[in-house]
Symmetry: none
Subunit: 226 residues, 2 copies
DNA sequence: CAAGCAGTTAACAATTAGATAATAATACAA
DNA sequence: TTGTATTATTATCTAATTGTTAACTGCTTG
């Protein structure tokens, strides 16, 4: 059931906080690594490749946002979970944090309970995604293992890109995915494809599925909607 | 895609490389400025404040890492994207580069395709994720993730500009937004549109929503009010 | 009642996505 | 390996939507 213990790297310049977090996370069964400033965080991250990194925003030798940005430039940290920790709970730094590519945001003072549950929740979310769960939305089932979409017991076979596209959109029904997001998620960061490529794939999916479940939001992107 | 062409400053002491990069980036629609050594790079950077700076690491009169460090000390270059370019593809110099505050790292010899896609990807990453949160004012919900306005469970679909307009106004209900503010927020700083453009959009929103939630403040601007 | 401002409308311009076919890349089987 | 089928991408053209302008109307206010 549980696999091996997840590794969590915590970076904060206050030893007390570090220890509180360590205690609570270890009690929960996680393996904890600590760092006391930004540079050390980067070093440890590269040494251990942890599953989750918790970064204090206010730290000496590179603040949390910087650390996050630096790590995110490396493909190997593209999917690593990152949580920001901060005393500032003002909107602007929150937004900046999330824009920089953090996955969640916890404000100080930290309640250990909140911290642990947020961490658990994050892992849950991700392992669900990673497991490649079959998505079931209304009468549509999208099975990433068999690469098959089932509509009312009728099976439709999609090509790889087509499938990845519909799977992405359907992973958050209703939510609009910007064309850029679709590009990075389905085609990858390095790949450059023309403007019409997405459209053509969308068209093929719509055609093959035969039902209207992809909605265009002009000038923005696409969304999955029944 | 949107807005004006991004400016990219390239610094390299080899004229050939400079020209290859310039050619490929200009073909992509970027505006290119060049510098042939570290000092010139700093001068040009301060003159143009480009969106992205590509620095060769090995350059006369200040190498790339030094240039990067110097620029990063200035607040105005805190958010400027920086890519290092280098013949050394050993880990240590890469890490050093990233720790100095670069956003990405490209090894020579450069494939134009890789370069262009990395540049595009970088801009994409930064420009991405506008997502704000859902605004709920009375019986009206404005959801920027789903790009939908809901009034009493009735969904209204707005065009992009219309949505951005209502989202801006509703972000601070009751507060009057000057016409100028609306222009810069929704249309962007450099865009010049006629006087009636805002009115027309306001009208369309009022029409589509069917309720009277945008109040005109004559001679001043508009505000959101139920 | 005149001046200033916003509302209205329709025409137009510009943008954006859909459709389709052609070409390129890839996978796969003989 | 070669040839074939499938899939992915690009190029073009078209259709639709969206955005902007311009001309006119009507309110409001001093």
């Amino acid at each position: 059931m549980e696999g091996k213990a997840k590794q969590i790297l915590i970076a904060d310049d206050e030893p007390d906080i570090l220890e509180i977090i360590r205690y609570n996370l270890e009690k929960e069964g996680y393996e904890v690594i600590t760092a006391k400033d930004g540079n050390e965080a980067i070093e440890k991250a590269k040494e251990f490749y942890p599953d989750l990194i918790i970064l204090d925003i206010m730290m000496p030798r590179k603040n949390g946002v910087e650390v996050c940005q630096i790590l995110r430039t490396q493909p190997s940290f593209q999917d690593t979970l990152i949580i920001f920790l901060t005393a500032m709970n003002d909107e602007s730094s929150q937004i900046k944090g999330l824009e920089t590519g953090a996955d969640d945001y916890i404000s100080k003072p930290i309640s250990p309970k909140v911290l642990v549950s947020r961490v658990n929740a994050l892992f849950r979310r991700v392992t669900n995604k990673e497991a490649g769960k079959t998505l079931q939305i209304g009468n549509i089932a999208i099975d990433p293992v068999k690469f098959i979409v089932t509509i009312d017991d009728k099976e439709v076979v999609l090509a790889k890109k087509e499938f990845e596209l519909i799977y992405l959109l359907a992973s958050k029904p209703g939510r609009v995915f910007l064309r850029n997001e679709i590009l990075t998620q389905v085609w990858g960061n390095e790949v450059i494809v023309g403007d019409r490529t997405i459209d053509v794939h969308v068209r093929k999916v719509r055609q093959k599925l035969g039902i209207d479940c992809i909605t265009t939001v002009k000038g923005v992107g696409y969304k999955f909607e029944i």
